[in-house]
Point group: C2
Chain length 408, copies 2
């Protein structure tokens, strides 16, 4: 299943994740917002880095989102550091919350000796509870003291909430000027849905990229990665994806180098987005919904998202039940035009529905495929050449258990 | 909680449900599609009845939906009988499925001595499996033999699938011409969502209503009842709500009587719709989402539906957790304009969020309210006079268990 290849993900030692690229140091420490796990992440660029970010489309936006927008505008899209806390979203916290987010940036800048508008801040956790900013600020010197080019693994742990594992990705690109690296980390779990940005993700590169070029590349690649992932249909107040380009490799991204950079950035973001889907709350498997043969790509995307969002489809796949009727029914209510009698559906590489509602397959063979860690679902509408791929996970009773008991 | 009043629902003896109105007989029998439960329902009007129906908006429409449309057009919206089977949806079954649905109508007509186009047919159950129409047809004489004006309880059992109980409702209306009755039955459980019609529901009345008038009343009242219920966001291939008006009371619905009729029909449909939400697969409680203070009613409806559809809200309410942050976040991603700092949220009658993100309440007191069978959630946006009410249920681990194991 080449489409679900995950090379470069899950390396856990050495210069990985956001410290894979030269010129970045990071640290993860415990500041006391969460009981015992790492909950404060600090990422620092040696020099001024071009910065770009996309934010949640939720009308309710957490305080750090407002601060990031202000700082990117004030700095002309240049950043030196990112401070992230887990365990508290600092959302729906009013003017005090905004002050706490600003203070986080100001104190980070003071400890590092940079300007406040060069600091991005992010939070994840429970909504509506005041951020214990004193604890966070008190731990910043410790975090700064632990900054290391080997800190990529620890920092990727410090941004997690109900995630069961850290999520990192990396791509190396060789050019006539030399080679550069793009590395990243993400957190996900609940509240994942494509309306941007669906999660927290931070990517660094030692390529030399102008802020406007970086911004364009990020927006286009997020569209095909994090905007194609759905866990439960909810979109958070805090989501953001940010990328910092420090330039330490000396490779300038312009002209003919642009395409390779955008491809590699897209690969890193897609790896991270798929890891987010795979680690959805309570998930036991990654599901790839590949809709082909639609009239347009947009129709294919509408249908793929509706199938990926169907609780009945996600529970059937959790039960390894080849219930193609639920997939056809989800496509039918998507709003995009379909001719049901032309549809074909294959699960795990086995056709379970042919044209004209012809269905003959080995239940045991399909069940074995559906019980694997990665399940490709291919729906062909037989109408045109429109295509879209989205990723989701199965829906388990554990999803309910996690979310019925955890105020997040 | 007057809004959640359920007078008239769940009576289980005598002339109830679709046989509460004079002039209707019904029977429920076992024809062998399901293992042992009643699975064939027959409803008959003594004379020609005005008939109106609304159908699923899913592009994939089951064979009986096609047959009903044809028959209502051919008969000029007059019906004598309705035949319903449970255990098989007769959807995605191709030309053979359409022939099976037509044969069901033809054989029902033959047994009853009426015309085929005066018979409506409906199916519910697994998609994509050929309807065992021979068994169904073989049981029609038995069903006809059991027809009774006391058959309302049995027939309401015979249309169920994963429902845990029958759903019936009734209203009596007194007029200067005499009194008339509106009674109905419904089935629901999974695949419930407002895009019409979200379930099967059948309503009868002994009022005398012209077909066009009945059609208008049904469309308007469905909009405020079944279109305001959501269990899991899926819309079935088979959904329909049908109403038959036989006229045995002699009360003509025209002029000043129209408003009272429409109100009573709306009440019956709302009772049934709320029973469907209450009995959602795995549900432990009925949740009423009442959004007020929106700029327009349409905005209020958009927000109420997004909250009702949020898995994070539904799991929190399952856990009796006063997690207002998830409600605010759902409102924020609805697409309708909101000013989050103006929002208030009350759960079970207790305010948990005041303006300006002020939140101070007794967790124990709210938990006690959230553990009740019916939970009103009131969200006030503080922006205008737009309002909408929708009903849903909590999301439990049992929902997953039911849907991961049952091919429906």
């Amino acid at each position: 299943m080449a489409d679900l290849e995950t090379t470069g993900v899950r390396a856990t030692t050495g210069a990985v994740g956001v410290t894979a690229a030269r010129g970045f140091r990071a640290a993860g420490v415990h500041c006391g917002i969460r009981r015992s796990r790492l909950d404060l992440a600090l990422l620092v660029s040696e020099g001024p880095a071009s910065a770009a970010a996309v934010f949640t489309t939720n009308t309710v936006q957490a305080a750090p989102i407002h601060v990031c927008r202000e700082h990117l505008a004030a700095s002309g899209r240049v950043a030196r550091a990112v401070t992230v806390n887990a365990g508290n979203a600092n959302a729906c916290t009013g003017p005090e919350g905004l002050a706490a987010a600003r203070r986080t940036a100001v104190e980070t800048a003071r400890v590092l000796g940079v300007r406040a508008e060069e600091v991005l801040v992010a939070s994840t956790g429970v909504i509506g509870v005041p951020l214990p900013v004193d604890r966070l600020v008190a731990a910043l010197p410790e975090a700064a003291g632990k900054l290391s080019p080997e800190g990529g693994a620890a920092v990727s742990e410090a941004i997690l909430t109900t995630d069961t594992r850290a999520k990192i990705a990396r791509r190396d690109v060789a050019t006539p000027q030399g080679s550069y690296v793009i590395g990243g980390m993400a957190k996900g779990s609940g509240m994942i849905h494509p309306s941007m940005a669906t999660t927290l993700a931070f990517v660094t590169t030692d390529a030399d990229v102008a802020p406007d070029v970086l911004d364009g590349c990020l927006r286009r690649t997020v569209e095909k990665s994090f905007h194609r992932v759905s866990v439960d249909g909810d979109t958070s107040t805090n989501d953001m994806v940010a990328v910092l380009a420090g330039g330490a490799s000396g490779v300038a991204i312009e002209g003919t180098e642009l395409a390779a950079f955008e491809t590699a950035l897209g690969d890193v973001l897609t790896d991270l987005a798929k890891e987010v889907a795979r680690d959805g709350e309570g998930a036991t498997r990654l599901i790839e919904i590949d809709v082909r043969g639609a009239v347009t790509d947009e129709d294919a995307l509408t249908i793929a998202r509706t199938i990926a969002g169907s609780l009945l489809v996600k529970t059937a796949l959790h039960g390894a039940d080849a219930n193609w009727g639920r997939i056809v029914a989800a496509a039918g209510r998507s709003g995009a035009p379909i001719a049901p009698e032309k549809m074909t559906v294959s699960l795990g590489g086995i056709e379970v529905l042919g044209p004209g509602f012809r269905s003959a397959f080995s239940e045991d063979a399909v069940r074995e495929r559906l019980e694997r860690d990665e399940v490709p679902v291919v729906v062909d509408l037989g109408a045109g050449s429109g295509r879209a791929v989205v990723w989701t996970c199965d829906l388990s009773a554990d999803y309910v258990r996690i979310n019925a008991s955890y105020r997040s």
